[in-house]
Amino acid sequence: MLTKNEIFETVEMIKDQNLDVRTLTLSLSLFDCISDDKKKCADKVYHKIVKTAGKLVETGNILAAEYGVPIVNKRVAVTPVSLIGAASGGFIEIARALDKAAKEIGIDFIGGYSALIEKGITPAEDAFLHSVAEAISSTEKVCSSVNVASTRAGINMDAVVRAGAMIKQLAESTKKQNGIACAKFVVFCNAVPDNPFMAGAFTGTGEADAALNVGVSGPGVVEKTVRNLPHADFAALAEAIKRTAFKITRAGSLIGAEAAKRLGVQFGIVDLSLAPTPKLGDSVAHILEAMGLERVGTHGTTAALALLNDAVKKGGVMASPAVGGLSGAFIPVSEDAGFINAVRAGAITIDKLEAMTSVCSVGLDMLAVPGDTSAATISAIIADECAIGMVNHKTTAVRIIPVPGKTVGDEAEFGGLLGTAPVMAAHSAKSDAFIQRGGRIPAPLHSYRN
């Protein structure tokens, strides 16, 4: 029998601490949509999404009402479009079909306008990369990503150079909106095939035809747990976070499994991530501050984040039959009230954020730099992140916005969940000669495990 305390604990988590299911993401294979005819391919894509994911939003809304847990986003992630459009070359046509289908079924975002180019770039992928800026700036809901490095392949620096230039192009294509197109484009090292979170969600080539992946959240709940233990030692603190993560994950896992059943697809994974929003009481930075740091970004921040990230995973792993995706704490600067304040106060730098990404999921995220930051500097920032991911066998990513016409001290307002980004300083010393060497940074020795 449930106790009163248990019931009110759950109610308080939802009511006061912003516990929610961050996303129900339907992963969908588009391999059966391939055609050498551009129009046929795009039509097939549209119809498959509408047919398979047509009830996703309605199902999510019903489950949110029945379980009393908000489900913030409903999304679809598809097979990388660079593969699906390779035979026809109709990448833009597919982007439009994705956007049209997303609007038709009422989802928030659709991901998978993606390419996996960590070892080489095919002629079709080359054409695809040229289409990304137009595809993103001419659609509303389509998200894009590229995987430019992996522990097994090393870092494809030619792809890193392309990515830097693409980010500049995306910023320029939406300069009146502070370069917001960059928020829909992620550059990965070790991208995962079952990530439910945007902008980097896509369906890997080894995935099922359709599966439901769920992203849980609840930074506010973890913050409350930490604040209730001002004098606990680290073992006790980690234990309390584990227990909380277990509860959060069980809620997400239950709702994800039920959603999959009702949609008639297989249940994929639960992504054990702490994803913040700009709302007060929904911040990862504030959890770290609750552990005893005066301001996130100061000395001790990386250690605090390592403890948090590990405890969330240990608590979550036992709570779900299948864990996957990115699974870790996110640190998107513009989407987290604590990080926004830390940048405003000059307490956190890109260098510190980079250090933090070596112990958490995922990488430099929703970070604004001056509009005149060069493509080569952005590529160098990407290369550094890739190096951390490659050497440490983990996913890292860069989602960075060189805000047109703005510089350090200015702020870029993106609105909604994307929040506000105070512009941060990048190093002024050039990296151009390094970046332009071309080729691939070899995979590390410990990648040869066989």
Partner: protein, 87 residues
């Protein structure tokens, strides 16, 4: 189907009558009930079972009732609590 109803709000007369009346109108059975006043706040917990009326319908009608009497009413499938608090 079983669900948990939680009612929290500023205390006044008639809250229990209104909530149980609406549940009875939907042929929903109250299996367990606990109610107290904490610092001027009315706090009530109920375990309900419904065979005729669907959970979504109960949620909607309780939301409407919550608005009309000015208290917070939540109706949640019992599985969410079992999942979070039982291994």
């Amino acid at each position: 189907m079983r669900a948990i109803v939680t009612v929290i709000g500023k205390d006044k007369t008639g809250i229990i009558a209104a909530v149980t009346g609406e549940l009875a109108a939907m042929a929903v059975n109250v299996e367990d009930i606990s109610q107290t006043i904490m610092r001027e706040y009315f706090v009530m917990l109920m375990m309900i079972e419904s065979k005729k009326t669907g959970l979504l319908e109960i949620v909607k009608r309780m939301e409407a009732l919550a608005k009309s009497i000015g208290v917070d009413i939540r109706v949640q499938h019992e599985d969410i609590f079992n999942a979070m608090h039982r291994i």
